[in-house]
Amino acid sequence: MPSDPQNELSLDSASDAGEAHAFAHVRHQPPHPLVEVWRDFRESKGALAGLAVSVALVLIAIFAPWVAPHSPIDQDQSAFLQPPAWLPGGSWTDPLGTDAVGRDLLSRLIFGARLSLFVGLLVVTLSLAVGVVLGLLSGFYRGWIDSVIMRLVDIMMAIPSLLLAIAIVAILGPSLVNAIIAIAIVNIPFYIRLTRASVVAESAKDYVMASRVAGAGHLRLMFSTLLPNCTAPLIVQATLGFSSAILDAAALGFLGLGAQPPTPEWGTMLADSMQFVQSAWWVVTFPGLAILITVLAFNLMGDGLRDALDPKLKR
């Protein structure tokens, strides 16, 4: 019997193995999981937009000194509180206007991107590192380690995060670095909880038992076997944690406890600007807008990631 050239024959061994069929049956090669994630991610226009903006922001941050028209701390004594270029009194040398001491707003915002992205990255790295390790220990060993760590988590989560962060900054002294440390510390409980929950759920599964039986040591079990399978929710939380770190740093800056003037951190810029709500709206609007756009972009990405990874989680 001639076989259909398009398809390959594949026979079930439990059936009439010898009979040739006129028909065919397609062979399926499942695509690589990362490719599938990307495909699902691509489906959401919002997520793509978020990704595009995030990439743009990263580029702006990296190339800030070349992108920005002026230095962020140079004061132009002749142009205090100049409105944006498209309003009367503005000029294109300072496209978004200037602040109370004549600094170009656009340049400050661009350098501020550097700071904010740096803050986000550092905070997430620190809290992820500590949180994941503690979560692994907690979920893996259980017993008294688990009790102690989880009690600590409960206690930390019983205090509003900003309050705790403010208290920590008060101990360490107000500065951007201390703000980063404070926010990282405050975020650790979330990662501990998340990791622990994943570890506990996965530990009950057969592949972990198999590794154990094969003689894998504790470290190997924790980091090579369990951890890779708990990454999906962690990735999503990390993306969202990145954006909330930016918001928290801005909040601390706003309260005068984060980056100190003249550092062009977006929150700090807003702290100075409260008095100009009526007279110079651009000093108030643009830094906040910058924060909004950045955080929104990363949140959209995080959402898209969550949706793309979710079927994997469920599977």
Binding site: R151, A158, I159, I166, I171, V284, G288, L292, N299
Partner: protein, 336 residues
């Protein structure tokens, strides 16, 4: 049900003990002591300094200070503010109602708008309504709330002149604080002008504070509804010939609300965080503002007592949420 209740109650005590330990440790790690701050650059003779420290009991060994503190705390005595000399508990009780009133208003706002929005978005999945709700919510919690507050002030107070900029009540009104809730107190005195005034003062801060909870509630409701709408019993309800609205509001929503209630309860922590910023901008005399001041002034008793009481409040609310959860979900009320 009672065992559920008692188990939850038992977990509270170690949590509180832990919080008091943590805050004690934190507070005493803050460099500088309150006396130096109070006195400022002028400086004090070392003897006078030591004398004042002794007066405030700050020279005893730390562990002793901690135990004494806890003992007093159980009796409701959290010490006195170093600056105002008032008992911490008294100051807290004076200011707490303001924060509670603001938070309640914020949560009401968040639920009244967020819940229907989430249900609608789920039912009309993929439509423009869905996209609008999702985008608006996402924007809502991507914004720095102090900026949002400034924008709203810019629009409604400065440009339109509809709402006042700060405080709870305009200077020309005087209300004897009874419950501490401005809305209630003004009504008690039958002063409807003052009531209206207080309401106007409340609106903007409530909207600002309620924005993030609104976003969270809308999204949570939507995702919970979407899950529930795919459940078998919804299909059964349709197979019974129930009208679509009945299927959604009676059958689906009832089950979808369970996780939403949990999330809303957890929002209390978020609310207090937001309250700190909101109260600062609107000069709202609540505990958020109180705490920021205290930290800047190194007012130990206030910081310690304040955090302890706030944590107490949060733990209490979480406890109440757990109970509500039990009420809504029959599986917890009547275990097999």
């Amino acid at each position: 049900m009672t065992s559920f209740f008692l188990k939850r109650l038992a977990l509270i005590i170690p949590a509180l003990a832990g919080v008091s330990l943590l805050t004690f440790a934190l507070v005493h790690l803050i460099p500088g002591d309150p006396i130096t701050i109070m006195v400022g650059i002028r400086g004090l003779t070392p003897e006078r300094h030591a004398e004042m420290l002794h007066q405030l009991g700050l020279d005893k060994p730390l562990w002793q200070q901690f135990l004494m503190y806890d003992w007093n705390a159980l009796h409701g005595d959290l010490g006195r503010s170093i600056f105002t000399r008032q008992p911490v508990m008294t100051e807290f009780l004076q200011r707490f109602p303001a924060t509670v009133e603001l938070s309640l208003a914020a949560i009401v706002f968040a639920i009244v708008i967020g819940l229907p929005a989430g249900v609608l978005a789920a039912v009309k999945r993929g439509s423009w309504i869905d996209h609008t709700v999702m985008t608006a919510s996402l924007t809502g919690y991507s914004m720095p709330i102090f900026w949002w507050a400034l924008l709203l002030i810019l629009l409604f107070s400065v440009q339109l002149g509809w709402t006042p900029v700060s405080g709870r009540l305009s200077a020309e009104y005087w209300i004897t604080p009874h419950t501490g809730f401005m809305l209630i107190d003004t009504l008690r005195e039958n002063d409807f002008d003052a009531f209206e005034n207080a309401l106007w003062h409340l609106i903007l801060p409530a909207i600002v504070l309620g924005t993030i909870p609104l976003a969270v509630i809308a999204r949570m409701t939507r995702s919970s509804m979407l899950e529930v709408l795919g459940d078998d019993y919804v299909r059964t309800a349709r197979a019974k010939g129930a009208a679509p609205w009945r299927v959604i509001l009676v059958h689906a929503l009832r089950n979808a609300l369970i996780p939403v209630v949990t999330v809303t309860g957890l929002q209390v922590g978020m609310l207090l965080t937001g309250a700190i910023l909101t109260e600062t901008i609107f000069s709202w005399p609540g505990i958020g503002q109180w705490m920021v001041q205290a930290i800047n002034q190194r007012d130990y008793p206030v910081i310690q007592g304040g955090i302890l009481l706030i944590a107490c409040a949060i733990i209490l609310v979480n406890f109440l949420v757990d109970l509500t959860y039990g009420l809504i979900d029959p599986r917890i009320r009547h275990p097999r």
